[in-house]
Subunit: 291 residues, 2 copies
């Protein structure tokens, strides 16, 4: 299970140094483990945590498939042929770009050396506790709410808990894919328990359970908490509004039962954000990485 | 002009160490120069030497375009939309794979930071001298004929000069794209003199002038020199036979006048391979990198 990558888009965009660190760390980490698998001669299944961001967010009304896209091509002699290709990537940051380059590493080692690979294209994780971490307070996961590592929902939750307006970038019309941390853990387990067959191409699975616009999330949290919304200039280069339709049948067919925002959000507000609000460092909240 | 990459497919495949060196060197080199261009704030045109090998050699009767491919997609509501995408890559070695990953670096920095980039997808270079190097014997270029760095035609030329059978891998049915070193230099000059406009996508140009099957090349050289052919097992994982149709209008329209194998090969045999044959180290000729 390959988790050894610099994991934050804003962090990857903070400076030239951060770009170079992210590229060197992420690509060498992935290549090193694949080269080691080949060198060892052991029949290994590599599971990798990728991101929905490899697809980009401009889909022209298409449903995003699980990794592979069927396209039609015109040949020189006027025939039309169908080909299945790796979904054309469109990363929005250096971090996301390294994940699109990881895909090419996986495709090559799979083709040339028959390495078995499952690449999980994960949405934005929310939530803090899993069944295991709930067993003792000392097992609780980290909860990032800062501008670099805090994913959008966690930032909103902490902001609501301390009476800070929810910081929505632009109109909040960006649609993103989400998954609860408990479901993430379950997906990783299902991926490991269901390896590809020998000779099978890289298995790509979309690891997300629902999509929402950022402003919908903010409104949901306002309803639960009475927080207000502050629309800020978007620090990122991205479309102000986008739709997002995502295929996610694989994990559902393997038995994943999603934790929905509607059912899990209130618990997160009460048990995590409010409970630990006194530890919050307000200076960490603004997103200071601009691109 | 970014030439700072490990340049040999066989070298990249010699061991785990060589794979890791090639990935780290090539991707960090490209990312470093792009990150430096952005950090400097200088309006720079980056020209990069890539390879025809990013396209792969299984084209299903299609003509390989200069970088971008028009595909047709079916949307969820039954419409057909046309999109132009980066040609789906299919690298045959770690070396070639890094060049497909370079393309994603260029696309990202071009989209996000408007960096002007020309990526040259070069065929296999043959020949030794340019107009400039001919001016004095001390200016002569290196001539690699060994199993790691020697490109196929140079290996054949040296083999013929020393009476060693021409080592054809498999049937020699592999079709590859070629360009003379004089034309390579001219193409680099033309690329630098014709930068993309501000805001233009990455300009990809195929830098090749003719295609040949490997066994055709061997036969041409046998006719010129009386050499014999030795069909060896192919050390590489690749299709035994393939066709290759390549678009190369851009450089021709900019004024490139190709040096053809038919016109230039005899000179190469006489002026380089035979003249320096006494320096040849026979132990270096076999390809010892297997994949």
């Amino acid at each position: 299970m390959h988790f050894a990558e610099q994991r934050a888009a804003p962090y990857s965009m903070k400076s030239s140094w951060h770009k170079r660190y992210t590229v060197s760390n992420n690509l060498n980490a992935t290549n090193n483990v694949l080269a080691a698998v080949v060198e060892s001669g052991i029949d290994t299944h590599v599971v990798h945590l990728g991101t929905m961001g490899v697809y980009g967010y401009g889909t022209a009304g298409m449903r995003i498939p699980e990794g592979y896209l069927e396209v039609k091509l015109d040949t020189e002699d006027g025939r039309e042929v169908r080909k299945e290709i790796l979904y054309p990537s469109d990363p929005g940051s250096i971090y996301h770009m390294t994940k699109t380059q990881d895909q090419l590493l996986f495709a090559f080692y799979n083709k040339n050396d028959k390495v078995k690979v499952t690449d999980l294209h994960q949405g934005i994780v929310w939530g803090t506790q899993t069944e295991e971490t709930k067993m003792d307070e000392r097992l609780i996961n980290r909860f990032d709410y800062d501008g670099d590592y805090g994913t959008v929902l966690n930032r909103f939750l902490m902001q609501a808990a301390i009476g800070y307006p929810l910081t929505v970038h632009g109109t909040g019309g960006q649609t993103r894919a989400f998954i609860h941390i408990q479901d993430t853990v379950r997906c990783v387990q299902l991926a490991i328990e269901n390896p590809p067959q020998s000779g099978e191409r890289v298995r790509i699975i979309n690891q997300m359970t629902e999509t929402h616009r950022v402003r919908e999330l903010a409104e949901m949290i306002c309803e639960l908490t009475g927080a207000t919304i502050d629309n800020l200039d978007n620090p990122r280069k991205e479309a102000p509004e986008n739709d997002l339709y995502v295929a996610n049948e694989t994990f559902l067919s393997l038995g994943l039962e999603p934790t929905t925002l509607q059912s899990g959000l209130l618990q997160e507000v009460q048990d995590v954000a409010k409970r630990y609000a006194d530890r919050c460092d307000l200076s960490k909240i603004p997103c200071r990485s601009l691109w």
